[in-house]
C-alpha cells in the first residue's frame, strides 16, 4: 500500500503518508486472552470440576490442583464404598458434603493464598466464569469472604442438603420397619 494516511490519526501525523508492506505493524494492544468455558452448570454439577479417583495404598484422602479438574484421591476401601453409593441420587448430597465440601474449602484457602498460580487451570477458569455470569469478580469475592462461606455458596448449602437426605433416608427406613 503506497502513500497511506488516515484522517483520524493524531494531529502530529498531519500531511504524512506511509508506504506499507504486508505485515507492517501500525499499532498494538495487549489483548486479554479469550477464555471459553464449556460447562455452564458448575454449581448444579460439581462433577464438572471435580474427579474422584482411587489412590493406591492406605493414605488419607488428598487433592490435586494441577490437572484440568480438581482430583480427589481416596484409598481403595474408601473409593470402593464411594463408587458403590455415588450413583444413588439420595446419597449424592451426603457424599458431596463429606468429600467435596472439605476439599472445596481447602481449594478456596489455597486460592486466597495464591490465586495467580492457578489462573490458567481449567477448573479455576470455570469458577471465574460462573462468578462473572453473576456479575461478580471472583478474585474480589475471594478476598472479602471466608473459604467455608464461599464453598457453601458454590455448592448450594451442602450441609443442609446432606441432613435433608439423611432425614429422608432414616424416616423412610423407620416407616418400612
Amino acid at each position: 500500500m503506497k502513500a497511506f494516511s488516515c484522517a483520524d490519526w493524531n494531529d502530529e501525523f498531519d500531511g504524512l503518508t506511509f508506504d506499507l508492506e504486508a505485515g507492517n505493524i501500525l499499532a498494538y494492544d495487549n489483548f486479554k486472552p479469550l477464555t471459553l468455558v464449556e460447562d455452564p452448570n458448575i454449581f448444579k454439577n460439581v462433577d464438572s470440576i471435580f474427579s474422584v479417583y482411587k489412590k493406591l495404598g492406605n493414605a488419607l484422602p488428598d487433592f490435586d490442583l494441577t490437572e484440568q479438574k480438581i482430583r480427589i484421591g481416596l484409598n481403595s476401601k474408601d473409593y470402593n464404598l464411594y463408587r458403590r453409593y455415588c450413583a444413588n441420587p439420595s446419597m449424592q448430597p451426603i457424599l458431596n458434603a463429606m468429600i467435596i465440601l472439605p476439599v472445596l474449602v481447602a481449594v478456596f484457602d489455597e486460592l486466597k493464598r495464591a490465586a495467580q498460580e492457578h489462573e490458567s487451570d481449567a477448573w479455576f477458569l470455570s469458577l471465574t466464569a460462573v462468578y462473572k455470569r453473576r456479575s461478580l469478580n471472583f478474585v474480589d469475592v475471594l478476598k472479602s469472604t471466608d473459604a467455608l462461606t464461599l464453598a457453601q455458596a458454590v455448592m448450594g448449602s451442602p450441609i443442609t442438603q446432606a441432613l435433608k437426605s439423611i432425614a429422608v433416608a432414616l424416616d423412610d427406613a423407620t416407616e418400612d420397619s
Binding site: 504486508a22 505485515g23 481403595s76
Partner: protein
C-alpha cells in the same frame, strides 16, 4: 482393531500410583495387571478401525526411522481424530496401555530387564510418565507420549511434509520445531515445509543445529517487526532460505 481410551479415574489411579506399580511396566508382558490395580476394567471403547501395525522393532531400522515410519502409519490410520481428541491424555494413555501396550514396552526396551538395572526408580517413573501418559506443558506432552507424537507429527506437517522433514534426527527435529508456538499457523508451517523442500530438491542436507534452528531464529527475529501471518508461504520460506544460503556461503568464504 478396537481403540479404547482410559477412564478418567483409572488414568488418575495409574498415573499417581506409579511409585507402587512402575515395576509392572518392566515385568508384565500383557496388561491384565491393570484390572487388578484399578479394581475394574479401566478402558472404554472408542471405536473400531481396520487392523494396522506399527513399524517392526526387531529390524535394521534405527530409532529415527522407526519414528519416521510410525508417524506416517499412525496418522494415515487415525487421520479421523479431531485435534481435540488427539490432545486428550485419556485416548493416548489408553492406546499405550491397551492396543499398543506390548509395542510401547518393546519400543523402550522394557522387555529387556538387563538394560534397566541400575536405573533409579524416580528416573524410571519419570520416563514411564512421559512415554505412557502425558507430561509437561501443552505442547511438550503431546510430542513426548510415545504414540501421540506420531499423530501430531503427521497432523502438523502432513504426510508430504514428513518426507521433507526427513529421517535424520527425526524426533529431535520434530520436537524442536513443533513445540514452537508459531507452528500453530498454517502459513508458517507451509512456508517451513517449502524451505525444507527447497534444499531437499537440490540434494543439500540440512543440519538441525547448523541450519534449521538458525533459520527458525531468523524467522522469529523478522516476526518481531512484521506480522508473519500476513505473508505468503513462499515469502516465509524465502526468509529462511536466504538465511541458510548465507550460512553456506559464509562457510565457503563467499558473500551473498
Amino acid at each position: 482393531m478396537e481403540l479404547c481410551y482410559l477412564k478418567g479415574d483409572a488414568l488418575a489411579t495409574l498415573k499417581t500410583g506409579l511409585q507402587t506399580t512402575y515395576e509392572k511396566y518392566l515385568t508384565e508382558r500383557d496388561n491384565s495387571w491393570l484390572v487388578d490395580v484399578c479394581g475394574e476394567n479401566p478402558f472404554v471403547k472408542f471405536r473400531d478401525v481396520p487392523d494396522f501395525e506399527l513399524t517392526p522393532l526387531d529390524t535394521e531400522f534405527d530409532v529415527g526411522e522407526v519414528d519416521f515410519r510410525n508417524s506416517k502409519i499412525l496418522y494415515r490410520n487415525l487421520h479421523f481424530l479431531t485435534p481435540r481428541q488427539a490432545a486428550d491424555e485419556k485416548l493416548w494413555a489408553g492406546l499405550c496401555h491397551d492396543a499398543f501396550y506390548d509395542y510401547v514396552r518393546r519400543r523402550w526396551e522394557y522387555d529387556k530387564l538387563d538394560n534397566l538395572r541400575g536405573i533409579k526408580a524416580d528416573d524410571t517413573i519419570e520416563r514411564i510418565t512421559n512415554r505412557f501418559f502425558f507430561n509437561g506443558n501443552a505442547r511438550e506432552k503431546i510430542l513426548t507420549n510415545t504414540l501421540s507424537k506420531y499423530w501430531w507429527a503427521g497432523h502438523v506437517f502432513g504426510l508430504d511434509g514428513l518426507e521433507a522433514l526427513g529421517l535424520k534426527d527425526f524426533y529431535s527435529k520434530l520436537f524442536s520445531i513443533a513445540s514452537r508456538s508459531f507452528m500453530g499457523s498454517e502459513t508458517l508451517r507451509g512456508g517451513f515445509i517449502k524451505f525444507l523442500r527447497h534444499f531437499n530438491e537440490r540434494g543439500t542436507q540440512l543440519d538441525r543445529d547448523d541450519h534449521i534452528r538458525p533459520a527458525m531464529i531468523e524467522l522469529n527475529k523478522v516476526g518481531g517487526t512484521i506480522v508473519l501471518d500476513c505473508l505468503t508461504e513462499n515469502e516465509v520460506a524465502a526468509i529462511m532460505i536466504v538465511h541458510v544460503e548465507k550460512i553456506f556461503a559464509a562457510r565457503q568464504g563467499r558473500k551473498i
